[in-house]
Symmetry: C2
Amino acid sequence: MAGALRKTSKTGAANAITADLVAVLVAVTDGEPKIMTIANDGALPSGPFEFTHRSLQMGLRAWVEAQTGHPLGYVEQLYTFADRGRAGDTKSPHSISISYLGLTREDKVGQGFEAHWSGWYEYFPWEDRRAGLPASLAKTLASRLRAWAKSAATTALQRERWQRATITFGLDERDWNEELVLQRYELLYEAGLIPEAVRDGADATAVIPGRQMIGDHRRILATGIARLRAKIKYRPVVFELMPAEFTLLQLQRSVEALAGRLVHKQNFRRLIEQQQLVEETGAIAADTVGRPAKLFRFRHAVLAERAIAGTKLPLSRT
Amino acid sequence: MAGALRKTSKTGAANAITADLVAVLVAVTDGEPKIMTIANDGALPSGPFEFTHRSLQMGLRAWVEAQTGHPLGYVEQLYTFADRGRAGDTKSPHSISISYLGLTREDKVGQGFEAHWSGWYEYFPWEDRRAGLPASLAKTLASRLRAWAKSAATTALQRERWQRATITFGLDERDWNEELVLQRYELLYEAGLIPEAVRDGADATAVIPGRQMIGDHRRILATGIARLRAKIKYRPVVFELMPAEFTLLQLQRSVEALAGRLVHKQNFRRLIEQQQLVEETGAIAADTVGRPAKLFRFRHAVLAERAIAGTKLPLSRT
DNA sequence: TGGCTTATACTTATCCTGAGCATAATCGAT
DNA sequence: ATCGATTATGCTCAGGATAAGTATAAGCCA
């Protein structure tokens, strides 16, 4: 009966909690993905959901604008989790975090704000494979992972750990799947290879390069990157990050920056053009090296035409 | 500074709210998708997140078990939204709903519980296209939508509305996209064609068939269906809904039931087999009509092998 | 002018997909 | 025993999409 339901639903004030709104705000400048950070680049913009907010999104917009001076455009929800400092202190969480992904163009951050644009690969150096595995990681990463796998109690567990490592990090001839950002972070966390985990109780053996953040923020960022990498493959969201006019190479560089891997140039153009995602502006890019490129703009009509349909980018995992 | 951040984050009790946990619990029986309902089939299992819960998921599990006697297996988060009765009363929401999708096999619901399995198409008759558009809707739906489009103020608006309708409902030669469950529901809501909208203030002109639910529950259900329809295409989640052993036709029927559309039999088998998702048990299905079919079981190894990789089902939109 | 760089057009081989044909195995009615 | 209905299973074929490469065009600069 609805009566019974109502009753159970109204435990009310006794179970009151607070909800934090957290934003992963992304831009791409000069072929580098940036995220908005505050607190000396150690935190994502965030703040509590308050009674004055008319909705979750509006609360988020209010906080981001207050902290960064930057108004939010495209926004989508990422994930909600109970925050408690991740390692298990046994008490129950009294606060939850609701995270969002926002896309914009980089702008001057208003004065008087402590917000900055930081390169997102500063937080996840291992996610940038455009030039292969970064030198700072080439030697350490795989061997640390193998050591972690070896340290398991049983051989079955060892094998299982190593299999997870090879899959998520594309080791042993497996190929790299750029979407597994969160899985990689979680695995490194489990392996005690990142500072947040050490802080949460593991022993501080050896840590992998990469800037840390407060609380769960780096994990939220990983979630945002993963979502964006997945989404650019089937929705025309890259254009939220592009200037009004751009060359096909600039577009390609942005996609590559987000995906952390390179794509075949000719095929990229074919795909973009055959889908009629863009149209020529008639203008030609100025001050460039090499043969000048045509400028294009996003055909906003596609948003109406297909509503939710599809975009394809040559980023499947071969 | 982290200090400043901390301060803003600790507005504390003044902004305390309650969080409800809501479950879309799905099973497939005899080729029909079912959802667990309570309150006389008018609500999804749900309850407030309480201090005794160690995490959001555990809170959800506790509520579902208490209300339905059914333990939860596979669970994933769906969406979080501020609940306020959807139409805008101007007050701020003091409660949020965190929704989850759960997959199981239908089981006898324990006695003494008011929970039932209901067919999900009772709530969304227009989503079942396995036998074409249901007769109860064939005439009304398109014409009602057209009327709604026509009722817009300007011709530009009219065109825009009709375009949305044709895209989401696959009218005018466009093809049906089974994933747009939520968009269709939202559009019908906007058009005042479902009871929840009427209750929320629109005028009760003509309403489309389909059982209603309390609050936002039908919208949450739409979100769950959409997610599941999307997910079966690239993750082996269908098997969570299958018995231990099954024939390929049973598997196909389950997929078709979820997707609400039919698939090409031979191609379906080709895809399943070439991906090595299943293995023969050696047994043969008993008491069937026609040539007896081999029984298969899910190869649980694939979960380890690919972790997050891929499954393909012949459900792309041509 | 030649060399460097980027843009853009085409080609080719392979794989995937949708659709259909053909045959096999079972049951029940005649 | 045979026919018809029903489901299972194997195979083919055409078209499209994809990955990868070759070739040519159009600028700049020394």
